[in-house]
């Protein structure tokens, strides 16, 4: 167990170090996220009071598109010069390679959320104070499931040329249950001012579990140098 955690930290640490060196992904993703928030904000008639539901929906769109870009970039690092081949040669469990990539992607997405969320809160005058804990729980759980699927598919799709549109095309429909359920839960939290229930958390948790387990199981079948 300790060994596995050490390996995951080693692998994810390597990814984050590369990110720190090249500073490509996070900057790009954050700017894209802000752009989406601004464009959708203007599209929804700037100056008028946006409903809390619209604000959470806009944030979801920003996370989704930003996230897909993260997945592409972090797996692209492995494809360049076939570095993935060296990982596959090493005595490392492939499941751990998956988990480490997932951790990297989640860290980057949290970085994205840390900038884009406050920006949206300010721009849309979105009152988080009604239930901040509920907001963060639902967002985080949604992100875990989304990143689980995204990390899996980035490994297969990243070696094709059509990367950009294709990965989004693959990941978005599969994540629809997460989008639908977290939106519905957010409506209850902020539209109807109801608390987050154990049922809500259980449902999102179950979704995350299905995505994580199925991705973890298929990942080793699809990894090819």
């Amino acid at each position: 167990m300790m060994r596995a955690i050490r390996t995951i930290l080693l692998l994810a640490g390597k990814d984050l170090r590369i990110e720190a060196r090249s500073r490509q992904t996070l900057a790009l993703v954050i700017v894209l996220g802000l752009l989406i928030v601004v464009v959708l904000g203007l599209g929804l008639a700037a100056g008028q009071k946006t409903s809390p539901t619209a604000a959470t929906a806009i944030l979801w769109v920003a996370y989704l598109f930003g996230g897909v870009l993260c997945f592409e970039k972090t797996m692209g690092v492995e494809r360049q010069d076939a570095a993935l081949g060296a990982l596959l040669l090493a005595p490392v469990d492939r499941g751990l390679i998956y988990v480490a990539k997932l951790v990297t992607n989640l860290v980057l997405m949290l970085g994205l959320a840390a900038v884009v969320t406050p920006a949206a809160v300010v721009l849309f005058d979105f009152d988080l104070s009604a239930n901040p804990a509920g907001f963060f729980t639902v967002t985080l759980m949604g992100m875990v499931g989304f990143a689980a699927i995204g990390t899996l598919f980035s490994a297969v799709v990243s070696s094709t040329r059509l990367q950009g549109g294709l990965l989004a095309m693959v990941v978005f429909p599969l994540c629809l249950p997460l989008v639908v359920s977290s939106t519905q839960i957010m409506i209850r939290l902020f539209g109807e001012a109801r608390p987050l229930t154990a049922h809500d958390v259980g449902l999102l948790g179950a979704f995350d579990a299905v995505y994580l387990v199925s991705s973890w199981l298929t990942f080793e079948k699809i990894l090819e140098p």
Binding site: L10, R17, S22, Q80, D81, A83, A86, A90, P91, P225
Partner: protein, 246 residues
């Protein structure tokens, strides 16, 4: 055509289980056989050259031996049958491939230390230092790999494959893109590794180099092994003829 494996080349003190033993080894990619019915035995400490025209299956054989791709038939490495995931076997294999398999945004030192830790090497930083010195890149050790020349990158990639001191080194055209001095030092290096009891199998398309460096030569033609003899028993004419036969 296929002669007996040249076991006499094996230094007697290291003869135990063969480093590689393949029986009816085959590889199928996309439902097409790329390697067929390969029978092969390589003893520890051998230095073997692998030749073949483009598409004959050289890279595929090296990838199958390094456990990167699935195989059919029976394959044993160091007396242990290759089944699925065997970390202890993986630790004994090193591969130099066409691509550098390095992270270009990291420095050579960071790459080496990272892979060293992945393999559980003791004191990876110290070993990386030593290897960087040996490949003559001690002063460039902290620049990102992407700023290095092709030859330098190739040398770092070789150092990566040797980081965990593999008992079996598989090298896919390692001389590709190296200048004369680097080629010379790599040749010396491979010979030294073999002399130290490690097994080296390298592919090349240069017949002369294969004959000069290898003690034994394998020639692949369309996925089958057509020559397997000590280099002392072979000459360039014969090999060229084998290579150009359709």
């Amino acid at each position: 055509m296929v002669s007996e494996p040249a076991l006499q080349d094996c230094p007697s003190q290291t003869c135990g289980a063969p480093a590689v033993r393949a029986a009816s080894l085959g590889v199928v990619l996309d439902e097409r056989p790329v390697l067929r019915e390969l029978n092969l035995e390589i003893a520890p400490g051998e230095l073997v050259a692998l030749l073949g025209a483009n598409g004959a299956g050289k890279s595929t054989l090296l990838r199958a031996l390094s456990m990167l791709i699935a195989h059919e038939g029976r394959l044993e490495l160091f007396g242990q049958e290759v089944t699925k995931d065997q970390p202890d076997l993986r630790r004994r294999i090193g591969l130099i491939a066409h691509q550098s398999m390095l992270y270009r945004d990291l420095s050579p030192r960071e790459n080496l230390v990272f892979f060293g830790r992945l393999y559980g090497v003791d004191n990876p930083a110290g070993r990386a230092d030593r290897l960087l010195g040996e490949i003559g890149l001690a002063d460039r050790g902290d620049d990102p790999v992407r700023t290095l020349s092709r030859g330098m990158t190739q040398r770092v990639s070789i150092a990566r494959a040797l980081m965990h001191e593999p008992d079996l080194l598989l090298a896919d055209e390692p001389f590709e893109g190296l200048d004369a001095p680097s080629t010379h030092s790599l040749q010396e290096w491979l010979a030294r590794l073999a002399g130290a009891g490690r097994t080296v199998l390298f592919s090349t398309h240069d017949v002369g180099q294969g004959l000069a460096l290898g003690r034994r030569m394998l020639v692949l033609r369309r996925g089958s092994l057509v020559v397997d003899q000590p280099t002392s028993a072979l000459d360039g004419e014969r090999i060229l003829q084998e290579l150009t036969t359709p």
